[in-house]
Amino acid sequence: MFLARLLRSLRTPSLRLGRPARRHRYVGASRRGLFLAMGLLLAMSLTSPPASAHGGEEGVQEGYVFVQQALGHLAADPGPTGVAAAEAKVQEMLSGPDQDGVDVALVDQAQQALTAGRPAVAQQALQESIAEAVSELDPAFGEQTGTTVVGEPLAGRGSLGGTDWTLGGLSLLLLAVGVGLAVWFRPAENMAQLRRRLNATPATGTDASTTSERLPLHPQDGPQP
């Protein structure tokens, strides 16, 4: 089933894979193959049709969706810009052909409230106007939102409560302990000291991490017995 879907997807006009790639003997040829594949991907996206309306839904928009869009604008921005966008959507709904499940009288009330600068009243009326339409919706699938009540954004942080102070205090403590330990466990030498030491040491031709022995971290420590 999965493979069938995958193959069907691969047979779309914008991507034809054709015959399997030939095995190349030389690295240069492999590199050419890589560039060819990248070119193919680029060409594929260049020749793809431009993206259109969201969700690819075409045809007549249902009336309740316009109302939801108006609610979405108001929820995102209850200021003049959001109100203007919501008014436009309400107007689209009122002049549209599909008003099934929408209480047009309530939408009219909402329009008046928006004009009067009372977005909260308009939101309530708009939400109530589509009660019938959203009650008949099937469970969401694909990219459907499943939204019935648009609602409001979650309120941001208020003043700090006891739990916030406790968690904040613990976090601050962790931060301080972490910084303290990081300083405590820091390498013994800074880069300048390390460079001076290494410049004064004749090269041995092997690398540091293969030896089980180590130099004293401070020259004053001196060789240990």
Partner: protein
């Protein structure tokens, strides 16, 4: 040069040491005590480890969050609200998860920047660079899917963009087609990707990444003399056991957790209203602003090209840059390109605030 043995032999083993010996006999934990050059314990050289700590925090908080999250479209937004408002500490855990994700993105980017600046992606470490690039791509995907999961207007618009990009990619974007599994909400599939597929792949690649670091050893510091071929730190450089490296990373990790906790308390992540189809009223998360500016200018295709160029360049770096020099002053072309690259991303990111947003979805 006089050398000393790493561990003094005179002191009698303590009770802790004896206990560790018992465990070591069974689990071989002493294998972790392999030597690491001293410069490997600097903060800049520990950023990969700090990124791993972020991943650990994300996994722990993620396990808690999935206990309360409902990925069904009708309930997803409400389940996040309930977590924040009704579950004790739920908002804090969500905040820690959110900020740990940001921290992972930033520390991974800084780690890659350090690797580039010190030429650590050069022979013989090219493959490990590619694994790192793949992990960075997965982190970006995790950020994207995490944004969608909260199922508010911002998340839904992010999904809308991705579905359109999936269409632009044709067959390559088949997974992002809502018709791929027609009866399953795409939110559920993104949820499975976010909690299983993406972290699973990151863990596999991170293991491979760590094993290759062990195999190739910590790359030499370009400001220090290196051994003959220039591929390894010199034998004269002091070393510390890897367990000390872990100890320092844990310290940084503790500090990171504290910082993240403070951010979670003071700047908790928001949650918008339930999503509505057909409008475009939100901005993407900061990490994607530069792409949003490109989209504003050139349309949705620009997101594909922008991401393609970004990751394409990262992949090609070790194949294009064959200069064995690692010190940044002796790599003027690479440094100039890096500055151009960073300047482009930063300018595009800032420009978003000065542009009138174009609607591409509605």
């Amino acid at each position: 040069m006089t050398r000393v043995e790493e561990r003094p032999v005179s002191s009698p083993p303590t009770r802790t040491r004896r206990a560790l010996d018992v465990i070591d006999e069974r689990l071989g934990i002493r294998a972790l005590e392999y030597p690491v050059p001293e410069h490997g314990n600097k903060l800049a050289w520990s950023l990969g480890g700090v990124t791993a700590v972020s991943l650990l925090i994300l996994i722990v908080t993620g396990v808690i969050l999935v206990q309360f999250y409902n990925p069904v479209p009708e309930a997803a937004n409400d389940s996040v609200r309930n977590l924040v408002t009704d579950v004790w500490g739920g908002g804090f855990v969500r905040g820690v998860h959110f900020w740990a994700a940001q921290a992972m993105y930033v520390t991974a980017a800084l780690h890659m920047l350090r690797v580039f600046l010190t030429g650590s992606y050069k022979r013989p470490r090219e493959a490990n660079w590619l694994i790192g690039v793949a992990m960075f791509g997965l982190v970006t995907l995790a950020l994207f899917t995490g944004t969608v999961l909260k199922w508010d207007q911002e998340g839904f618009e992010a999904l809308g963009h991705n579905l359109e990009i999936g269409k632009l990619l044709g067959g390559v974007g088949f997974w992002f087609s809502p018709t791929f599994a027609e009866n399953v909400p795409i939110l559920v599939r993104l949820y499975s990707a976010h909690v299983v597929v993406i972290p699973g792949l990151i863990l596999v690649l991170a293991t491979l990444h760590a094993l290759l670091v062990k195999k190739h050893k910590i790359s030499p510091h370009p400001a220090l003399p290196s051994e003959g071929s220039g591929e390894q730190a010199p034998a004269a450089e002091p070393t510390e056991p890897f367990t000390h490296h872990l100890r320092r990373i844990s310290s940084f990790g503790l500090a990171l957790l504290g910082g993240i906790g403070l951010l979670a308390v003071l700047l908790p992540p928001g949650l918008g209203a339930r999503p509505v189809a057909g409008i475009e009223v939100t901005e993407p998360p900061l990490n994607f602003w530069w792409l949003y500016t490109l989209e504003n200018w050139f349309g949705l295709n620009a997101i594909v090209y922008g991401e393609g160029v970004f990751f394409g360049l990262l992949v090609l770096i070790p194949f294009i840059d064959r200069n064995p020099e690692r010190f940044w002053r002796r790599r003027p072309v690479a440094m100039a390109l890096l500055v151009l690259f960073l300047a482009a991303v930063i300018v595009l990111t800032i420009l978003l605030k000065f542009l009138t947003p174009e609607v591409h979805l509605g």
